[in-house]
Symmetry: D2
Amino acid sequence: MNFSSDNVSPICPEILNAIAAESESAALPYGADDQSRQLDAAFSRLFGTDVSVVPVATGTAANLIGLSGLVSPFGGIVCHHHAHINMTESTGVAFYGNGAKLLGIDGPSAKIEAETLDRYLSTHISNGMHSVDPECVAITQSTEFGTVYDVSEIQAIGKVCQKHQTRLFMDGARFANAVAALDCHPADITWKAGVDVLSFGATKNGALAVDAIVLFDPALRRHTEKNRKRGGHLFSKHRYLAAQLLAYLEDDLWLRNARHANEAAKELQKSLEQIGATAAFPPQGNELFMHMNDDLAKRLGDNGLAFRPWGSIGPDAYRFVCAWNSPIEAIRDLPHTLA
Amino acid sequence: MNFSSDNVSPICPEILNAIAAESESAALPYGADDQSRQLDAAFSRLFGTDVSVVPVATGTAANLIGLSGLVSPFGGIVCHHHAHINMTESTGVAFYGNGAKLLGIDGPSAKIEAETLDRYLSTHISNGMHSVDPECVAITQSTEFGTVYDVSEIQAIGKVCQKHQTRLFMDGARFANAVAALDCHPADITWKAGVDVLSFGATKNGALAVDAIVLFDPALRRHTEKNRKRGGHLFSKHRYLAAQLLAYLEDDLWLRNARHANEAAKELQKSLEQIGATAAFPPQGNELFMHMNDDLAKRLGDNGLAFRPWGSIGPDAYRFVCAWNSPIEAIRDLPHTLA
Amino acid sequence: MNFSSDNVSPICPEILNAIAAESESAALPYGADDQSRQLDAAFSRLFGTDVSVVPVATGTAANLIGLSGLVSPFGGIVCHHHAHINMTESTGVAFYGNGAKLLGIDGPSAKIEAETLDRYLSTHISNGMHSVDPECVAITQSTEFGTVYDVSEIQAIGKVCQKHQTRLFMDGARFANAVAALDCHPADITWKAGVDVLSFGATKNGALAVDAIVLFDPALRRHTEKNRKRGGHLFSKHRYLAAQLLAYLEDDLWLRNARHANEAAKELQKSLEQIGATAAFPPQGNELFMHMNDDLAKRLGDNGLAFRPWGSIGPDAYRFVCAWNSPIEAIRDLPHTLA
Amino acid sequence: MNFSSDNVSPICPEILNAIAAESESAALPYGADDQSRQLDAAFSRLFGTDVSVVPVATGTAANLIGLSGLVSPFGGIVCHHHAHINMTESTGVAFYGNGAKLLGIDGPSAKIEAETLDRYLSTHISNGMHSVDPECVAITQSTEFGTVYDVSEIQAIGKVCQKHQTRLFMDGARFANAVAALDCHPADITWKAGVDVLSFGATKNGALAVDAIVLFDPALRRHTEKNRKRGGHLFSKHRYLAAQLLAYLEDDLWLRNARHANEAAKELQKSLEQIGATAAFPPQGNELFMHMNDDLAKRLGDNGLAFRPWGSIGPDAYRFVCAWNSPIEAIRDLPHTLA
């Protein structure tokens, strides 16, 4: 069983079928095809408001390009020190943001707390020439430590942003897992709470390669599309990005896949706790961070489980990620089948 | 029949099958999977020399990232005025090249002539502080006007580059069509002639979305990979890029598809000439540029042919592009079936 | 006599005195001093309209930073092929413009003609994703070939820009020489004709090192100042920039210096023509471009004249530049004193 | 008495005279003049080794351009959180560094400790694609809190850099004050300890506007000069930068000015302590950070002292900076003359 990441999982059948179905005919390139033209409407239905959607093939591109419209070349983006955009996306934020700077702050379990943010913005917005003023706040949902902001937490952050006139971005590489965990409407943790732009992940949750930049402020479309093209992310066969996304939304596939992954993670937590591991955080989505001793880690590896040490949490910490296709029965049986 | 571009064509069956086959199992992300690890060897066999391969999902990304290792932020890239990188890739060259500048020159049928290039480089390399020195030359094979550099032309350009110590880049979005047209070994028009980096196109020729940056100078790998990541082009499910490329190379699918497209173009030229059009250039690959009067253009449109006016060649000029799946019989019959 | 450039000339006495006078006392840094606070008013009086002034120490910085507010990272700046920003300022335009691209066009004697510009903008503004749309036009006054746009020529260009909704920038490294040549009000060839931003040169015309970015659109101030700081061009001892500029404006020193240089150039032209040289263009400002044979060029050099060959005009062409301190009597006597 | 910064001080007489002396004659531009050609030799004598010198007009430019050769667009620069490059130079590091990222760490009194640095580099250099690897370390001497690294501290940092193969940069805006405080040879705290590039400040210590980028690795010259030109920092009247620097080195003017400022700071500390203030750090150079109550602060202000609150140290903390011309007698008398 491979828990090293959810991106080790393959394409789920519905999406693979959609790709195959697109291969029967010709279609105009660069988003002028029928499927691509349905995207705005499909996502607007999902979110219950008019949105503009700009699909790209990777989550990093979705973050970098999505963020770029919210910050000037002289501005800063406040994020958690452990944010993916700060730790794992090279110098991409400054690249697409023409020099914009990440400003890391702390908070428990990779979450930014509204009060901390308020204090930070109050002391760091100077309107001067010398320093880098925060112009945008970026949060990750679910977070890099597998936790999930609840609705009120995001609302509180949104209010702080409004107070300081900063924009709000959400890295939603695992957005589906958060919605599944909260059992809320996707609007509740996005535009209704003040989010301006969301990167809506699909790749980790069953797609081949597509994440959607969802713009709740349609005025951002032109800049976002221009930056996508400049970055080489405008697909000629754009319809394959659209086909994946439409299949992903259809019949709530995105939620079904996420619920499966979350349930698998819950079961995995139970199984691992039964054999002596302890959770570093109360896991809510599809990522687990577990403390365990070397013996147990070795034993799991010897039994064919793949997972990764996670030094930023501790020397005895490991990450396990479940996906849309994780074998729940086998996970439940783990304590009994382990040699 | 849709001749508006080769990128309107769908995925060819062999590549679709390869994508489906990858969906049976888990695999490590970011290029650590088995398929990805075969890429260097497969391309090294194809080219008869050791190469490093960095796949990306679009031709624009392949050009921009491939070029970026060959020029400094203060340097220039000499290309034809009509080059795709100059006309159709936004400000991407300066973006990935940290400010590097395109220097357009002229030449017949979108081709750079070695003598013109030699003269240009002789007068424009100053080694001073103020001007932008050419550091790299970029050619397109086959060209933006559907013509093909023959082996000796590329060799001559390569020698000029060597003389002036400039690097040589080849935009090979339609490289397969050029090799099919010349019936040469791919090495003859690349590394043996002095090409440092090739963007090896697959998307237009049957893939879903993948072009390979082929580095004939392995020292470029690190910069190229770092720039790919920074640009958000490193796929987590990298194996799907690899699977497409491996299927594309297997049993010379890339060449078979290109030969089909080229033959279709030849037949289309004949058919269009029979009904009164004339070729703007001697077509060699899969792109035709035809002069025709308004009546004929309208008649073709009314009969369901899609194609595009091409103002940069003339007010009565149109582009027709054939693909791996163009219906050769129907093309041959065109003069007879046209209403 | 050194005619190799006007930047070989030293600081003129009035400006040197102003610098010395500033050295009597302490003053707040970064533009908060008394002198700096007078700049907007002084330039507003000069131009007869409210302007914002951002001083920098070099003409290149004035051009690059001044331009940067008029173009997006995805946009183009139309300029003459021979424009200083295109030929002699490294890759600076893309640097400060976050990737913005120079689009060179032709015209006689380094001047853009309104009709050519209109045609170019009509065919190159696509509002598409792929190409680089012109967003700004940049002209140089006086031009790189020593000619001067007259008032009606600039008005015509301004109208074309208005028609196509592009911004208009003026590189005025030798603006004073143009105003002196035209004997017009500075407003006539700037904001009244549609110029948005002017780089107002002082360095070549008697200052130590200062050129003023004059913003006729005050909304550009914040971006311009932010970009100046980012580029390291905000002086801590800003008052010395201000003191130079105020002295430069006082009692029309800028015009007096320019008139002197222009007159010297006129006399030099006469003297050179008497001994067999011919002007490449009708010279209007302080720059001459002369054709002459090798013998004459050598003879001038042997007599201690410094000047530079100018290959972009012709193999027998040379540039002579006069300055605020060029010795007019000696220039007149040249045909007689030459050995 | 104005202690709000050392940059409120005017030009010192020796440097003003040097500027005036340059105004007697013509000289070639862009560094081809006699004075500019002496710079390398003059600084090589000062440092006792062959160095290349690239002068610019501001300390920010010296830092940004000097750093740019030590880091790739994908790399990080480790600095103290309170470093000037991190707090007060806008997004300039990413600008000149083509995206390079600042990585802030902690340490007492704005100093990086070798052990902390070693631990940081050990855990943050991954050689992977995703994260930003530290490629350079930047320290400030004297520091932003007025403290000074002693020779052994810099040697220890140099060794850590060598161990991890990272480059070492020194922001020496107040380098003279550090050398004066340590009474060491300038080589001891630069190249002998492993510093690759130093920004050697002069502006705050008596010049009009010039800081020198001192390259201890001559291979960096070309990149540094190219980046200077691109940034608009290459002066046409370059000789005035050179003249300031040569006068600054002559007869150890730089050290004499710094010793004066340091002594003034010492006296000021004594005087302030006598009236109830306490030093936040043991002051070593020309900057003092003092804690005092509101009453005392108000009283000082009422008596005509200018100084600035310094919130990053504490709500009751203030900065006082002395300069080359601070009135030592009046400072000594302060406790007695205060109303």
